[in-house]
Amino acid sequence: MTVRRTTAFSAAGLVLTRDLRLAVRRPSQLIQPLAFFAVVALLFPLGYTPELGKLRAIAPGVLWVGALLASMLALESLFREDASDGTLEQFVVCGQPLVALMAAKTLAHWLLTGLPLTLMAPVLGIALGVPVEAMPGILFSLLLGTVTLSLIGAVGAGLTLGVRRGGVLLSLLTLPLAVPVLVFGARATELAISGESLMGPLYLLGALAVLGITLAPLAAAAAVRIGLE
């Protein structure tokens, strides 16, 4: 019989599949951010104006702020249960690099919120008067931007581990850090709606995502380690 050695990569894979499986078994957590996103986007026609022409002008901001807040909503539960039932402590002492496990958890968060939010955005876009031709651009920019949002959020969630009722604090920490994503993302969406080339802001979003992928898991691992001391 051969002894199977767990590499960092396969450990991360195990964490990822575990998180996904947990989410599938409890679909309410999966649906809530999406429902929140939809409600936020649909409040604008009611609160502002039903005129599609006017809504189209604010659609980029509505979509991005909505996605930002919805992705934040799901963050609170990213580490909470794992911290209370001791799973996180096992992560720290299991001998696998915590950075890889944090990256896996962040990826799971993105797959469970960022990706569904992105896929839902075009539907909401139609309700806000966004032309169908703009949808590929909106999908692409949100796809890149939500990755960074999940990465920033994981750091914030790790930092607020030791805080009782840290929900509001979590938003206060992560929202200012998410400003560049919001700026570039909303601009990309705006360009997509007006039918222009959106490669400029898309490159910038890509750069942010690369920077986040390299640095955020390190910071998240450090934060979780501190939070569990």
Partner: protein, 244 residues
């Protein structure tokens, strides 16, 4: 290489004493410089050819804005030193910075708005500098909120240190993105502060103010640091001797 100076830097009683002796050496020059710069800025400097007497708000706005950014840098550096070398005094420095930094960020926002009214005709314009400063203010609030939210001091120190470092990586990106955003949406008019040549009688008071505010911050930091050290070293016996 002799590293004793470095180890002494980490010794609270040593720092406590040094901070006490150094404070007046920063406080008095700071006071003198600020008073002299006030005279130079309000009386001696000629009115600006575009903004008239209104430009004199510069002499309180620019130094506050400078302090706001500089203090965040000091705070993040101290936090990094504390995190890497596990130096308790460095964490005390970082903790002493946040409050002062938030104060002066608020001052730079208020003075910026008061300057904006006569120049732009409105108190608030989404000018990239003002916007970035507002985000900086929220970063300070988040830092202080995180510190206040964690009961255990050592954990609060390290968690807030990670946040400060993450923030310092982000601040240039935030500033760039805000400037980029502004260049697209074109604010009605941009305050021109970075003119190529400022006459010397205008520039000298500004430089004196900047130096004066920096020294002032150093003095405040030292006093706050002493308070912070006393609070953290509550059980240490050296405090008994110091307080004689």
């Amino acid at each position: 290489m002799n590293w004793t100076w470095f180890h002494r830097l980490g010794s609270p009683p040593h720092i406590y004493r040094i901070a006490g002796t150094l404070t007046p050496w920063f406080a008095w020059p700071a006071g003198l410089l600020i008073v002299a710069a006030l005279y130079g800025g309000l009386v001696l400097a000629p009115p600006d050819y575009q903004q008239g007497e209104g430009f004199r708000i510069l002499y309180v706005h620019a130094p506050s804005a400078w302090l706001a950014v500089m203090i965040y840098g000091v705070m993040a550096s101290a936090a990094a030193v504390g995190l890497i070398w596990r130096m308790k005094v460095a964490h005390a420095v970082a903790a002493s910075c946040a409050g002062v930094g938030a104060w002066f960020t608020a001052v730079s926002l208020v003075t910026g708005m008061l300057w904006g009214k006569p120049m732009w005709g409105t108190y608030w314009v989404w000018d990239p500098r003002l916007t970035a400063q507002l985000i900086l203010f929220i970063l300070y609030l988040g830092y202080m909120g995180l510190r206040a939210g964690i009961d255990d001091l050592g954990r609060a120190d390290r968690a807030s240190a990670v946040l400060a470092i993450v923030g310092v990586v982000n601040i240039p990106i935030i500033r760039y993105s805000v400037e980029w955003w502004n260049s697209i949406h074109q604010a009605p008019s941009v305050m021109k502060m970075d003119r190529p040549s400022m006459p010397l009688d205008m520039l000298a008071p500004l430089l004196m103010m900047l130096l004066g505010f920096t020294l002032y911050f150093a003095a405040i930091l030292l006093v706050r640091l002493r308070a912070e050290i006393l609070r953290r070293e509550r059980t240490a016996s050296w405090i008994r001797e110091v307080l004689r």
